[in-house]
């Protein structure tokens, strides 16, 4: 029963408070206490909640999870795990291992351009003024049990600060690896601040390395100052008994530009809660998603775009391919406030079902209080196009490859929007492998390593099929 878990969480909180509060400024301590009370009151979301109607956490919360309040003493040579080179794609890798920043003993890294990055726990000590200004300012918008629990509990995560007028020339890749011999309950808190007219590309990967069940509840807050540009890529490749709740809050100031991708390649239960506040004129958000699910997998994408100021644009494209008994949810809520005239808001959700047992629940929801707006939405659920299948097969291409070509073509609309070519190629490769059933859990993320690097040429090497 999930009440067992709730009790466990409650007891552990009291017992481990001194560890949780360890680095915190007083204000944060107070925030945690409040958040914990909120969690006790709100509890885990259930299907009685409208926003959780189609994602039932009951089964996964019934499992027994272990909580750790300090990192294990084991030595991890993360450099070895992630020692990989992708030509033309130079990145800064920052990793979390079972929820803990790998080099948390070290001070935060300061790049020559002034960008600061490192452990969230460490940032609490080193930069309390920045933390206090932004921490929980954006996430508080969506009060639910999981977010409150995260605020109360999360001890570590990633902190990134880009000062004004800086273009981080290297992509930052945050890799979240789960690899523990028991069932883990992990809560991370990430805070990303991007200054005026600055630019950041962030790749956020969630990967499992073993076949244990785990539950990750991550909250990421991204603050974008005026004219800031953020490209955010989420890649999820987890085992089939892992649950991941990824809540990401983007706060956008005037003339800021966001491009976001949520690419779910594998996982037991994945929920992406993407909430965007367009709180400055002329800001723009492109929100994309791709989910490839089979077996009993479940992926839920919730996108909420709050057009709070006039003259902003949002554009959503979410596509999914579902096989077997898998299920997917897409809820796209667009709110256009009274003063948000000249809003452009578009939303598209397309699904292909490969099996008659797979299910999609798609719900677009436009809530418009301004009168001078352009909004559109559309959701489709269909099969692969019979005419196209016949055309392809009439050229001698097998049913299997014909399907592969069409599935890939369907997914490519999302992939083709990725503007960093090496990253696009890498994701493209992962998607092809996934569609062929060749994606291993340990093929982690964008820069998967340990010399596992294999170039997959989709240009049809038949010997592989």
């Amino acid at each position: 029963m999930e009440t067992v878990l709730k009790e466990k969480i409650s007891e552990l909180f009291v017992k481990n408070k001194f560890k949780i509060f360890n680095n915190d400024p007083d204000e944060v301590k107070a925030l945690r206490e409040t958040a914990f009370a909120d969690f006790l009151r709100l509890d885990f979301p259930t299907i009685k909640w409208e926003a959780w109607k189609n994602t039932d956490l009951k089964k996964v919360l019934d499992r027994d999870y272990n909580f750790y309040f300090e990192p294990a003493k084991e030595h991890i040579d993360i450099e070895k795990v992630f020692q990989c080179e992708v030509p033309d794609f130079d990145t800064h890798i920052i990793s979390l291992y079972n929820g803990w920043y790998v080099y948390r003993d070290k001070p935060l890294t300061k790049l020559p351009d002034g960008t600061i990055l490192g452990s969230f726990a460490r940032a609490m000590e080193e930069y309390p003024e920045i933390i206090l200004k932004h921490y929980n300012q954006y996430a508080k918008e969506n009060k639910n049990g999981l977010n409150s629990l995260n605020t109360a509990y999360a001890q570590d995560g990633i902190f990134i600060y880009v000062p004004d007028g800086v273009e981080t020339y290297k992509t930052i890749q945050m890799v979240n690896i789960l690899n523990k011999e028991d069932n883990l309950f992990v809560q991370n808190r990430n805070l990303v601040i991007v200054g005026k007219n600055s630019k950041l590309t962030l790749v956020h990967c969630d990967d499992s390395h073993n076949h244990k069940s785990s539950f990750t509840n991550t909250v990421t807050e991204v603050f974008m100052d005026e004219g800031a540009k953020v490209d955010h890529y989420k890649l999820q490749n987890l085992n089939n008994i892992t649950s991941l709740i990824n809540s990401t809050f983007f706060y956008q100031s005037a003339n800021s530009n966001l491009t976001s991708f949520a690419i779910s390649l594998n996982g037991g239960l994945i929920r992406n809660d993407i909430r965007i506040t367009l709180d400055g004129e002329g800001s723009n958000a492109d929100i994309n998603g791709l989910y490839l699910v089979d077996k009993e997998q479940h992926v839920d994408n919730q996108v909420f775009v709050d057009h709070a100021k006039p003259g902003c644009t949002s554009n959503e494209l979410f596509k999914g391919i579902l096989d077997d008994q898998s299920t997917a949810v897409f809820n796209g809520h667009i709110l256009v406030r009274k003063d948000a005239q000249k809003t452009n808001a578009y939303q598209k959700n397309r699904n292909v079902l490969l099996s008659d047992k797979a299910t999609v629940n798609a719900k677009p929801f436009l809530e418009i209080y301004a009168d001078d707006v352009k909004c559109s939405h559309g959701a489709t659920v269909g099969q692969l196009d019979d005419e196209a299948m016949f055309y392809i097969k009439s050229r001698g291409i097998s049913e299997y490859n014909a399907k592969l070509l069409l599935m890939y073509a369907f997914a490519a609309e999302v992939i083709n929007k990725i503007t960093i070519v090496p990253l696009k190629d890498r994701i493209d490769d992962l998607v092809k492998k996934r569609l062929r059933g060749e994606l291993a859990i340990c093929d982690q993320c964008v820069l998967h390593c340990r010399n596992q690097e294999k170039i997959y040429d989709f240009n049809i090497d038949m010997s592989k099929i």
């Binding site: 016949f390 097969k393 050229r395 001698g396 049913e399």
Partner: protein
Amino acid sequence: MLKIKNLHVSIEGKEILIGLNLEINAGEVHAIMGPNGTGKSTLASVITGKEGYEVTEGEVIYMGHDLLTLSTEERALEGIFLGFQYPVEIPGVSMINFLRTAINEHRKYKGLDPIGASEFLAKMEEKRKLLEIHDKLTTRSVNEGFSGGEKKRNEIFQMAMLEPKLAILDETDSGLDIDALKVVAKGVNSLKTKDNATLVITHYQRLLDYIIPDFVHVLNNGKIIKSGGKELAFELEEKGYEWLKEV
């Protein structure tokens, strides 16, 4: 090569072909003519194995084997090609990827290794020029955004790449201007050998000025009502189909 005997075909219980007979030998060009809605495209669909067509009677023998037991892709691998009346747009699948996949499936079927990149590109270049296809089209998605004429030329281009034994061209001339028609005909003629055969389906005689048939058949109400040499096409052009219907 192809022997069709007493073929009866229904779609959703409605009989479209009613006892059709046709024999095509290697080296021959046949034309099937006839008014709209007489079963011409149904014949093409049945030969290529499209779903939804029920053969209630008769047989189709191809290279000595029962064709109707094979899947669409097996038929293609055995050398049957259909030039579509309405080529399908496949967004996201590049022409290059599509053709390479198809060629490699054919090679695999014959026990050959996949085609090398340079060999493939050289072949594509050669055939592309033959059909006067802009090189930009080969990097685009299959048929996506192609004009009507480009789509039809692209069908013959694919035919040239796949080198079928039996090519069926379903209304390939429709929607083509005279220059495009000449290009298509030039392509088809240059691919002709003594070992392959072509079945041209059309309801205008126009195409047959450029692709000279050895045999012309008139299809009406689900069966062939008259066969003859190429002169039959001229006669049809002059007199229309009505005089035959009365026979």
